[in-house]
Symmetry: D2
């Protein structure tokens, strides 16, 4: 067993060095270092990695970092919620969100047309601008086809965005599918509904998309899950890996605790009972705010991988192409 070491600051210390040193400090700092090593392991094992996050993380500046994570080949499948999709699009189109306080008077905010998400504020006009841009997009999509699986629809939208920091753009560019099992749970749902009122044969096919996430990985390959926060995003990713035989690697980061029996607080150990992660898999649960914990662990991993020339991605990998490849192997 390893010993705890007294931590000391050295001028100019890098994040990579800091994460290394945290590994022998104590409590969640130890788990954070383990998380960082686990991400390196996922990549070195060429595991198909599911990254899940909730919409508030897209409200935050993690959005650009998720885009970078995709670009650097550290996330192969994305699962998120409707809010995450909407806000990525808003930001790609130039909307800016504000930094505020948790304690701001909410009635005053409402009068100013500001909507609070913790200590961040979103303007009403950002939602109005979203409305203006989503309608013509739906016209274009509808002209192409009437029935859309969610991930295919998101890919089409992503291709239009042209923003290096956009999750949808980087995902589309790198053929990383984005799943959103509750696509109607947001402003987007309202606009889809209005569109369908005048185009009754417009269908968002969530059932078909279940097939897409099922074939987004396979029994044969190693699988990994990085779940940030809880929610349906987390559950959907582990369900998809479970149906493919379970993940080899699982990293959960959350502020929720297991004591209420919720999915948000469920640990990587609990997942073993379900076969959600394989019994002998490498797992890690880090308790803490994702806006700090995730960049620390991921930067720690990126620096190691960069130093070994292992960053970046190459493979083509939409679920459809993967399915095609399987059916017509290019011997």
């Amino acid at each position: 067993m390893e010993y705890i070491k007294d931590f000391a600051w050295t001028p100019g210390i890098t994040v990579a060095d800091f994460v290394q040193k945290l590994g022998v400090v104590g409590f969640q700092s130890i788990e954070l270092k383990r998380a960082s090593e686990l991400i390196v392991k996922m990549k070195k094992n060429n595991a198909r990695t599911f990254l899940t996050f909730t919409s508030n993380m897209v409200t935050s500046g993690l959005r650009g970092f998720f885009a970078q994570t995709i670009k650097e080949g550290l996330a192969d499948v994305i699962v998120t919620t409707a809010g995450g999709i909407e806000e990525d699009i808003m930001k790609a189109k130039g909307e800016n969100f504000l930094i505020g306080r948790f304690e701001t008077d909410d009635i005053e905010l409402h009068e100013k047309g500001l909507n609070r998400v913790g200590n961040l504020f979103i303007k009403n006009e950002s939602y109005m601008n979203f409305e203006d841009l989503i309608r013509p997009l739906l016209d274009v999509l509808y002209a192409k086809q009437k029935r859309w699986a969610v991930s295919e629809l998101l890919r089409e939208i992503g291709l239009t965005l042209q923003d290096e920091h956009s999750i949808l753009y980087q995902a589309a560019k790198h053929k990383v599918p984005i799943f959103c099992p509750a696509i109607t749970d947001g402003a987007l749902g309202f606009h889809l509904y209005l569109f369908q009122q005048t185009h009754p044969d417009f269908i968002v096919d969530v059932v078909k998309d279940f097939g897409n996430i099922l074939f987004a990985t396979s029994h044969d390959e190693k699988k990994a899950v990085i779940s940030l926060g809880g929610s349906i995003s987390k559950h959907h990713a582990i369900l998809a890996t479970l149906l493919n035989g379970g993940a080899e690697f699982a990293l959960y980061m959350t502020t929720a605790q297991k004591t209420s029996g919720s999915m948000s607080g469920a640990t990587t150990n609990e997942a073993k009972s379900w076969g959600k992660v394989k019994d002998d898999s490498d797992v890690c649960t880090v308790i803490g705010d994702v806006t700090i914990m995730f960049p620390l662990a991921m930067i720690g991993a990126m620096e190691v991988l960069a130093s070994e020339g292992l960053l970046g991605r190459s493979q083509k990998n939409t679920p459809q192409e993967r399915l095609q490849d399987k059916e017509n192997p290019k011997s």
Copy 2:
């Protein structure tokens, strides 16, 4: 302002009396009493009440209590997740879940075919039995129509269940719609997918259901939200009331805290900034495990309402009927 009073046990104390006394004890006990009073107020104001919960609460014995809450006219619209739907059906069909320990060895559980949800266990065979019963049900539904809004599909299933303790059964019987914006996020999603493989024109129309939840209430009537736990269920209900002008009453019960900026931890105050609840509305946030907090607050309210002859429900109220009524008022 009121004073704190020393609490003392009296032999045979009832829950109703206990909840009253908690109101002058301190911390969350005070909020719990406020929650109980708020539920009474929702009912006396004839507010259209959205009740939301996560699937783990259906895993627990709260399931029967939710059914009773519907029956007694204290919930008019339900929002939950796929797991909540599946497990209600399993239990209606005789499956039993086990009581265990949070600390049980998860690898041993996996070997025994037990899946852990906190300190509860679900047998693998319960999922297999679910498979056996859902397939013929889908055949019947498909024979009726090819394209289903989620809440309409759940109503059809509910009508078949014949279990007083079933949420779906009581909801169907009392024309309380159940919304599940992420219906594919569970075993149910897998079975829907398999069914669609052989019946390509089978459509689960989530977009149409957005209209149903929109018309499940209206600008004209008072609205209330009782959200247990976080997740998309919570978000979807407050979104629906927001689009109808905001709720007059909002009660959140959760173990999540607002400090991470998550939807699960968002307080009733934060909702004011969004117009999710009206600025002058009655709101209450109770922090604690829902399996204890919700029955306490609800029983406190039920006893008050029962003593005044206000329990029970009468009105017919599927969204479709409500819409019809609006279009063809029976002057």
Copy 3:
């Protein structure tokens, strides 16, 4: 293994019946029922029971319930903090604390002379009145002797209080020692300091009191710990039982989680590694707000014990008398 049962309200349900039914609901409700049974077991085993709590619980109306718990023979040794002592005395002398809101503007409160403890308020004048009454008390104590162990000093104060709802009074009356390892950490500390300035030979002997808590129990008898919240109170009680061979029974109730490695969040399992509780002991950790959880579990136990005629206390038991008895056994 036992099965989960659907919970249902029955009109007039008692707390005792409610706690029984919670035992098959799920998550913390199950742990709460276990807690209630564990308290019954402590009493039936005639275990010497340490009850610890933090000062905010004395701010709340739990104060009267702690006094009743002592009176009914369910707590034999008390450990708390200086605030708990002060506020018990204030209330015994007629001070009343107010019920407020967590969100009240703190600067306004300060201007009004109100000090906030969560959603409770204490008036500045309560502290001033405390000052007026503690000075003459110190004169009386000093006249008796110059050097006081803390628990002996608290016993003397308790004897003067004449309030049935007072913890210090009931403890003194029933020879239940109260330990307060950080007696100077409050307004009391300030007044002790001022008194010592004019009476330099006045000594509060915390080292001697370590002996008192050591002899407040023994290796030979069964021991139990009920710890509400964290803090030094919790640590001191488990330290005292550890030095006497470890407790047979341990019940922790707290909102803190184990993931930060803090004493507040340390579970009853962790205590086993220290020999703080014996390896084969009965232990239970309940996560939740103590103002609700403790009365529920304790009332559940009180009703069972009352029905079997096991409530109430008889034995004399100051640590000094116990020591004396040991040195001069009668017969």
Copy 4:
């Protein structure tokens, strides 16, 4: 108001740069940046800074960082618990603590003589070695004088330790007083008790030490509190600043939440109602594991201060000397 910015990793990013960028990410990352700036402000205002921490942080490798914080002039008064004192001494004398897992079987650990603190382990023999070294130390102290205020006793011990990473050593060397209001709550309490059994006139005078902490600062100077975790340490420091007119600056870092009304979870806002911090003071509460949050915020501050030549300390400052200076000003 400021806007959120997309975060992106740049190779070799330093901790200082990372903390800057976190300031526009979201949620706790924003609070962390504010914390870092607040520490800089404390130093630039030449505020007398109280640093408080719980014993588990001394179990961790933060211990060396606390010593460095003292050495660099960023902490002028320390408040901690008995465990923090003991473990600093043990480590100074060569004991090493182990890194483990939160989930390790506690009964197995007990059999191996390992005591668990979260995911850290302390060997039984470390406690035995502590016993061997504390006895002769007490002989030396007793030879000097019979009656000791706690902080004076800790200073004497600190002078003997000769370990750059020791909190007691750096504090003694730099005349930073260490207060420990519950000095008997640990193994140290037991050894003090045994010593007093054979040396009845040996007194640990906690009342006198209240005067020392009172005079550790004054109404005239600016005051700051950095509280890590909760407990009596936190309360004692804010009490001392309150009695000197309140602190200008307050930074709390904790995993506890305000909703239970506990001291551990009390926010810097609550402190305003008490006059614990002045109404116009700069305050910040960061929710998260201190082993990660504190080094991040403090390193961010250290780098800024170093770049401006403001690190390091000069003034002499034992409470006694400060009192003397006040009485005999060197005009």
